[in-house]
């Protein structure tokens, strides 16, 4: 057998292995969410139904729609403001030379690597003191701080790709730095801005530990916490509901991930390659 054939076989088995491994748990979740009972493997009686979805979306006491709404509110506000703050800083870092620039970048990056547990206990105390526990702000404020290093990092690489001559020309014409950013740089870098927003939306939508600690009920609780704390009435977990809720919560992030796959991969790798 020549090398080409071996390579082809290896590639094919690799493709099959990777797809099965990545998809299997997700497909299993889909199957359970559409089946009447989670233990059909035991009794060999698979019946398809939509009731899990309908129940999860319509039963008021499950509060799943509240969780969804909270997640959307928190993740969108976080993503937008974090990207904006990141853009401001990224502009300064890529265009203005100032002392302590490297220190700033490295410190911000190092901070985002901190274990969240080192923050969440004290954050709980702060939020209780100012009476923000169980509000959207209690999540949005730390989420922005937590995701802004990534926003800075991603946009730094977008901005540094733009030639600085365009800023210089505008400044000669009398525009201030801030005008240059808002009127010239940001519009050109809009695709980068948007993909940063989407990536940060995904991260905030998926976050768990802060949300678990800083919320107490459906007024601010997000989807991941809702799914993790799903309780059964009689001890047995309502797997059909849990899986249906899980599938629904995967829809937005999977849409983002597949549509903007190329940009996300680009964004994540730019930092690493440098």
């Amino acid at each position: 057998m020549n090398e080409k054939k071996i390579k082809k076989m290896l590639l094919l088995s690799g493709i099959i292995f990777v797809s099965v491994f990545c998809l299997a748990p997700f497909c299993w979740m889909l199957v359970i969410s559409f089946s009447t009972r989670p233990d059909f493997l035991l009794h060999q009686n698979l019946h398809i139904t939509m009731t899990n979805f309908l129940d999860v979306l319509s039963t008021k006491s499950l509060h799943f729609l509240d969780y969804l709404k909270n997640s959307f509110v928190v993740a969108s506000i976080t993503a937008f403001f974090s990207t904006l703050i990141g853009a401001l800083a990224a502009y300064a870092v890529s265009r203005i030379s100032f002392s302590g620039k490297t220190t700033l970048i490295l410190t911000v990056l190092a901070l985002s690597m901190f274990p969240q547990i080192c923050i969440v206990g004290y954050l709980f105390k702060i939020m209780s003191t100012v009476g923000l526990i169980n509000t959207h702000s209690a999540l949005i404020l730390p989420y922005i701080s937590w995701s802004v290093p990534l926003a800075l990092w991603l946009q730094m690489s977008y901005f540094s790709q733009l030639p600085s001559e365009i800023d210089k020309a505008a400044q000669v014409d009398g525009a201030s730095r801030m005008q240059v950013l808002t009127k010239i740089v940001l519009p050109i870098a809009l695709p980068g801005f948007m993909s940063t927003v989407l990536l940060l939306f995904m991260f905030s939508f998926n976050e768990f530990l802060f949300a678990l600690m800083l919320t107490t009920d459906h007024t601010a609780r997000t989807v991941p916490v809702g799914i993790a704390l799903f309780q059964g009435l009689h001890g047995e977990l309502p797997w059909g509901y849990i899986m249906a809720a899980s599938v629904v919560s995967c829809v937005p992030v999977i849409l983002i991930a597949t549509i903007f796959q190329r940009r996300i991969i680009q964004g994540l790798t730019q930092g690493a390659v440098k």
Binding site: E3, I6, K7, I15, V18, F21, C22, L23, A24, P25, F26, W28, M29, L41, L42, I85, L88, A89, A92, I96, F98, S99, G100, K101, L104, L111, M113, P115, I117, C118, I119, G121, Y122, L123, K125, S145, W146, V148, P149, R177, F205, N206, F208, L209, L212, M213, P224, V225, I242, M243, S249, C250, V253, I254, T258, Q261, I265, L268, A272, V273
Partner: protein, 285 residues
């Protein structure tokens, strides 16, 4: 203030403000708190290092430390191997490669809690998919979540599933920087593909492998979501991670001790980061 800093101030101020107030300040607060016996409404007393001394004699703490380090080392090792394989596959040209890349992103893109719930159901002893597959292959059922070793394996497998895509994406970026003509020349010179991979590709992407290792190890050390959902730290505390252990004390209201546990986790992560940074610098020179 220098002229540059004055000019940059407006732009970096919001970032600095947010990061200092909601990350730096709480971190220092946690360090400070770890020196107190602090249970709200009951006691608040400065006890210096007594929380840390209590840690030394805390059997469960040592078990959590051991679990966390073993979990991180083993899962990161496996993720690097699977991630590299996935990256090699995605780097080849074939039909539907775009679709394939999308599929590979799914485990990483969906909420970790959702993935964890799916695995929890798969691991069920009586009607879980894992045991059903084992049985169809003629292998006796495994008590995944009821035994320490089973639960450990279960968590590693779920973590490998969730984070392999991330490693694959980073390594893929590295693979794309390897010049194709060098590989082609080596092929002409008679080096087979395994030799080409280990002698050319791996040395060239070494820096990026170290970056992936660094990110992943630090992330794996702070594991919380998976453990919280899949095992809850069980059976009998065998899979309590340091993050979960710290959280349990925060939940009980013992903020001083919980802070001490958290700071220990930070120190461990810091030591790992230093080791990798040392290795990385050493190799690239």
């Amino acid at each position: 203030m220098s002229r540059g800093l004055k000019e940059a101030f407006v732009f970096i101020a919001p970032l600095v403000l947010f990061v200092s107030f909601f990350i730096l300040f709480p971190v220092f607060g946690t360090v400070w708190n770890s020196l107190w016996q602090d249970i709200p409404f009951i006691t608040r007393q400065f006890i210096l290092f007594n929380n840390y001394i209590r840690l030394l004699n805390d059997q469960q703490f040592w078990q959590a430390t051991l679990f966390t380090i073993l979990f991180a080392l083993l899962s990161v090792c496996l993720e690097m191997i699977f991630g590299t394989i996935t990256a090699l596959v995605l780097n080849e040209k074939f039909h539907l490669r775009g679709v394939m890349r999308g599929i590979a992103l799914i485990p990483w893109a969906i909420p970790s809690v959702v993935g964890a719930r799916a695995w929890q159901l798969i691991y069920r002893y009586d009607y879980g998919l894992a045991n059903w597959i084992l049985q169809t292959m003629g292998i006796p059922s495994v008590n995944w979540l009821g035994s320490s070793l089973g639960a450990f394996t279960a968590l590693i497998l779920a973590d490998v599933w969730r984070t392999t895509p991330f490693v694959a994406i980073i390594i893929l970026a590295g693979l794309q920087t390897v010049p194709k003509d060098i590989l082609d020349q080596a092929q002409v010179d008679g080096a087979n593909m395994f030799r080409r991979f280990f002698k050319i590709t791996v040395p060239m992407i070494k820096p990026i492998i170290i970056v992936a290792l660094l990110f992943r190890t630090i992330d794996a050390l702070r594991v919380f979501d998976l453990v919280y959902v899949i095992t809850g730290g069980g059976p009998g505390g065998a899979t309590i991670s340091l993050s979960l252990y710290g959280y349990k004390f925060f939940l009980l209201g013992d903020f001083g001790y919980g802070s001490a546990v958290s700071i220990t986790l930070f120190v461990i992560a810091f030591i790992f980061a230093m080791i990798y940074i040392k290795i990385g610098k050493f190799r690239s020179r």
